[in-house]
Homo-oligomer: 300 residues x 2
């Protein structure tokens, strides 16, 4: 398959135009969408959309309880799916929860979410990746700017920009507790990064990304195009949808306030993974679903 | 002299009450202040005050030009007053600019500033410390929570809480480019820290503070008392005044936007330094003015 979005092939970075729509259902069908025209406009323009109070207080309490129960249950577990802080043994993320845990499977396939992501991706969807992120007070580390799509394309073989990430806030998000920062409009440009991809890069990159890192000039250019940086804040229970190629990152969390979230990536069934464009062997199933597609789609 | 604010003496942290007023001129004389009653109330309650558009656009442009000229002039200079980034050689701060540079001496003794700090400290004042902070885009490092007074008391022998810091914003301050974060109300409590003070601690502590670091329980308690964390934002030319004991810190700056400022500490002439309460030898003059007091006061 032709590589429409080459990266890590050259020794100079390059900015390529996006070759896919941002919303994959025709805008003439807006009236059938579970989102308002304003919400669709905003997602299409900025590459992300926040919806406050998406989940009820009761649902939030249940999800908060569930993530800490799962953290407790994994405290002494040795598993690649359980990512720990580099300088401590605290659990930072647990992957593949939409598959391994019946409760989170239900959340991942919540009908309200499915209606939205089906519309944005213009097809049936499946879950490409899921995880719980624990960003505790004082200890949450920063995560530098990146396009998820760059990694999914290069390391996982995701052909096109036809995926959307969903972050469910399970703590109140302030501007100061290590929030998600996004560059509005950046979904429309693909930063082709320099350097190769080492084998088994994911073992390090989940802690700190060293390859597929956009260069400073491109980041400066993207913020100039987009007119700045956006930091959605909101109470627990709000959700942020962001397009696969939207440039984002997060700072460290020095405050006593935790910042926990549940994170799912929905990919179009028409955009299933092929061989990684880096030429390396595919990353494991818990990071990039290949085998589990059918089962998960039918769970809808 | 009795140590009213002991720190780094015990192996358990402790929170002590403040023993000094926050505003050292009687509030009955508010009508003689160069600040409004609302501004004085806010400073007294929160421990800081931001004033937007304090300097004119022309003044800002001149200051911006001056800080980069001084940075250029110091590029190849080896001096303790020039602090560089740990992982690069970029200049992060230049100290003692109110003394070494005629232009910054004028700024430091600007009559509008002198009127404010004289009122807040209830006496004549002198400059305890001055510096330019360069926090360039992408590279600005985080600085963890601390009370300046804790260090000035312990390492410099500043007896009482009767000093005020002034930060002049020379870049636009957003919530996302490594802003100053303050815990409102924290000026009213003194966190007595654990551990001793090594000799020449300042050589490391200007890059990353390891001693006089408040514990997490105290920080959590302070934010609960203060109802959160404040992040003043504003255009270049705005100023932030903050009380010597107000707990503050700043995150890293991952964005392309720089965050430069000019920083001066005004101390009451009635609060001149004594021997450091740590028992160590005093820090150098460029960090904590001892000898230069008379000259500087008379410059007013």
């Amino acid at each position: 398959m032709k590589d429409l979005y080459p990266s890590r092939k050259n020794d100079q970075p390059e900015i390529l135009d996006r070759k896919d729509p941002v919303i994959h259902t025709e805008r003439s069908q807006d009236d059938q969408a579970p989102l308002s025209k304003e919400q669709l406009d905003s997602y299409e323009k900025n590459g992300f959309l926040q919806i406050e109070n998406f989940f009820s207080k009761e649902e939030v309490v249940n999800m908060q309880k569930a993530i800490f129960e799962l953290q407790d249950a994994n405290r002494d577990v040795t598993s690649d799916k359980v990512i720990r802080e580099p300088e401590s043994e605290d659990i930072r993320s647990i992957f593949h929860v939409h598959n391994d845990d019946n409760y989170f499977k239900e959340v991942a396939y919540d009908q309200r979410i499915m209606d939205i992501v089906n519309h944005l991706l213009g097809s049936d969807v499946y879950i490409h990746q899921s995880r719980i992120n624990y960003k505790p007070g004082f200890k949450g580390k920063e995560f530098d700017w990146h396009s998820d799509f760059e990694t999914w394309h290069t390391e996982d073989g995701m052909p096109r920009m036809r995926a959307v990430s969903l972050s469910i806030a399970l703590s109140d998000n302030y501007t100061f507790n290590g929030p998600l920062m996004l560059i509005p409009g950046s979904q429309n440009y693909y930063v082709s990064c320099v350097g190769a991809t080492p084998e088994d890069n994911y073992k390090e990159s989940l802690k700190k990304q060293k390859f597929g890192v956009p260069d400073e000039d491109s980041l400066r250019w993207l913020t100039e195009q987009g007119g700045g940086i956006s930091v959605p804040t909101g109470k627990a229970g709000s959700i942020t949808l962001f397009e696969s190629n939207t440039m984002h990152g997060s700072t460290s969390n020095m405050t006593p306030y935790p910042r926990n979230n549940l994170f799912m990536v929905y990919n179009s069934v028409e955009n299933a993974l092929v061989e990684p464009f880096s030429g390396s062997k595919p990353r494991p199933e818990y990071i990039a679903v290949r085998e589990g597609i059918r089962t998960l789609t039918s769970a809808k």
